[in-house]
């Protein structure tokens, strides 16, 4: 099993040095996890490091392709509130 980084990644670099297995590398569009190297931090840390430092909700998926940091979990902004305000801005 391995974590993965998807297109929401903003390339902030935080995860790469945090990874104990040097499994994370910078690709053209976003950072990527080498699934052959990823151990989900088992044996090294209690929590997977990339998912624990990543500031972007939805950018990292766990081994079951489930979003590690769902909407609202990091910013504290309730997901509905965020959608509502963004829709308001669009309508201006």
């Amino acid at each position: 099993m391995a974590y993965s980084i998807v297109e929401k990644c903003v390339k902030c670099h935080a995860c790469a040095p945090a990874c104990p297995n040097e499994a994370i590398y910078e690709a053209t569009l976003h950072f990527m996890v080498d699934p052959k190297k990823c151990t989900e931090c088992e044996g090294d840390f209690a929590d997977p490091q990339c998912a624990s430092i990543c500031p972007i909700e939805g950018a990292i998926l766990d081994g079951y392709k489930v979003v590690a940091n769902p909407p609202g979990s990091l910013t504290g902004i309730p997901a509905e509130k965020f959608e509502e305000v963004m829709a308001e801005i669009q309508a201006r």
């Binding site: 903003v10 390339k11 902030c12 670099h13 935080a14 040095p17 945090a18 840390f45 209690a46 929590d47 490091q49 624990s52 430092i53 500031p55 972007i56 990091l74 910013t75 504290g76 902004i77 509130k81 965020f82 305000v85 963004m86 308001e88 801005i89 201006r92």
Partner: protein
């Protein structure tokens, strides 16, 4: 390099042109060693910021905490606020860019690393940049701005790199309040949320501050004023950080717009008004040197504070430049000496107009005025070209710098979607709220009449004069015309 420290020879009777009179803002009471370090640093000396430029290199993308006023997703070229950049640089690119800017803008004295994340959460990139620069460009001052979480662990390394200025952003010393500002931190390999995380952050900030002070490294503390969250608390913060050795406190207004996608922006948290900010800065100034000229610049800003010449120094343009840094250093030293000399001369001149201010009768009320300038400490900008105004307060005994106010939609000057149909002029009039005069080098007929109508007297008669002299002269005119008698002010307030 031996540059003379300004204003040192004079006793307190002298009036430095940057911040006159008896306010606590001036640096004149600081020890010589500290003034030597700050006299040409635009972010630390109000005087210096009219003449010397700074730049930030965006080498530090990662962050170890989340702040409710920050959103790591956006890069808008039209936006100007901390944490925003257009082009992330490697240390090698940053060194090249810094040397190119230093050669082309010789009055650039300071290189700072401020993000877009936290410099100390990217220690390898940050210190590699500092290492190379202290070797290749020893005439540039290096400084760093941090949230403080990783500071204690970095103090030793910082002290090795000729870094004598560090800014720590400290918004609170109370974990309860901290939990309302910082949703989480990354610490000892875990994401820690809420009060627990805030407590660790606060402890590390305070510890870092003490360690730096012990090493003799100058510390400025930045605080973001968030109405209803930490506004009442920041006076206490000011006292505590001063006790622990910070030498300057910079209270900045919260920047929060829904468009920024930040927690505060989306949740509708408002920033402080000009008045609220000034009142808090004044309240803190009883205990602490306050900085009032901060422009809250981008993490890749280049130029004098208030201007951004970053577009002239994109990596593709820099690649084509051929920089002879040894030659540049000679030119830079000459220009720095010339500015120092000019400032020294300015200090020696008798302040005729200011002296006569004291002849005005005592019950004359103080006045706020806006000044248009492109730098150099003189009135030299056309009203229509001003993207920001410096605000000064004149009273019967002195003229003091209060703040700057940006013109455009405050933090975004981008496309049509940003405007709401309001004319630029009516926006400017709103921005100048509370000011009774605007001093510029020139002004057109139409804005003249509209400003007058709004109770703001335009004045284009002091072009190229030192700002304080011009403000004093206009104040004197107003006072002599009787416009500032106390009874008059009540009438004006009623009609405003």
């Amino acid at each position: 390099m031996e540059l003379k420290v300004l204003g040192q020879e004079q006793e307190s009777s002298g009036c430095s042109s940057g911040s006159c009179g008896s306010t606590d803002d001036q640096l004149s009471h600081l020890p010589d060693a500290i003034r030597e370090k700050v006299h040409n640093h635009p972010c630390y000396s109000e005087e210096a910021h009219h003449h010397f430029a700074r730049m930030h290199v965006a080498v530090a993308p990662a962050c170890n905490i989340q702040c409710h006023y920050c959103n790591r997703k956006y890069d808008c070229a039209n936006e100007s606020r901390p944490g925003v950049v257009s082009e992330l640089l490697t240390p090698d690119q940053a060194v090249k860019k810094t040397m190119a800017v230093a050669a082309n803008i010789p009055q650039m004295t300071v290189l700072g690393i401020a993000g877009p994340g936290d410099p100390l959460a990217n220690p390898e990139r940050t210190f590699e940049t500092f290492r190379q620069l202290s070797e290749k460009a020893p005439d540039i001052k290096l400084c760093v701005s941090t949230n403080g979480l990783a500071l204690p662990a970095a103090v030793e390394e910082l002290s090795k790199h000729n870094i004598d200025h560090v800014t720590i952003t400290i918004n609170t010393v109370d974990p309860e309040i901290g939990a309302k500002i910082y949703p989480w931190i990354f610490w000892n390999n875990r994401r820690i949320k809420g009060k627990k995380g805030a407590k660790i952050l606060i402890e590390q900030q305070q510890k870092g501050l003490e360690m730096l002070a012990e090493k003799g490294i100058l510390v400025k503390v930045n605080s973001v004023m968030i109405p209803g969250v930490n506004d009442k608390h920041l006076e206490e913060v000011s006292l505590i950080v001063k006790q622990k050795g910070a030498f300057l406190h910079n209270v900045m207004p919260l920047i929060a717009e829904a468009e920024h996608g930040t927690f505060y922006g989306v949740m509708g948290q408002r920033g402080p008004t000009h008045d609220e900010l000034q009142t808090l800065q004044d309240a803190c100034s009883g205990d602490m040197n306050m900085m009032r000229h901060c422009r809250q610049c981008r993490a890749d800003a280049v130029g004098l504070l208030g201007e951004d010449r970053g577009d002239e120094f994109t990596m593709d343009k820099i690649e084509e430049m051929d920089i002879d840094y040894d030659a540049a250093m000679i030119k830079r030293a000459e220009i720095h000496a010339a500015i120092a000399h000019e400032l020294e001369q300015k200090q020696k001149q008798p302040k005729e107009s200011l002296v006569t201010l004291s002849s005005i009768k005592k019950e004359t009320r103080p006045v706020l005025m806006a000044v248009a300038t492109t730098g150099g400490g003189v009135v030299n900008q056309h009203f229509g070209h001003a993207t920001e105004f410096l605000i000064y307060e004149a009273n019967t005994t002195d003229v003091r710098f209060i703040s700057h106010r940006k013109v455009e939609d405050l933090y975004c000057s981008g496309g049509d979607t940003c405007g709401d149909g309001e004319t630029v002029l009516s926006k400017i009039i709103k921005v100048l709220d509370g000011c009774e005069a605007v001093i510029c080098s020139k002004i057109g007929y139409e804005p003249w009449s509209q400003l007058e109508e709004a109770g703001i007297m335009p004045n284009g008669e002091h072009a190229m004069e030192p700002i304080e002299d011009a403000v004093a002269a206009v104040y004197k005119e107003m006072a002599e015309s009787g416009a500032l008698d106390e009874s008059e002010s009540n009438n004006e307030l009623a009609t405003a």
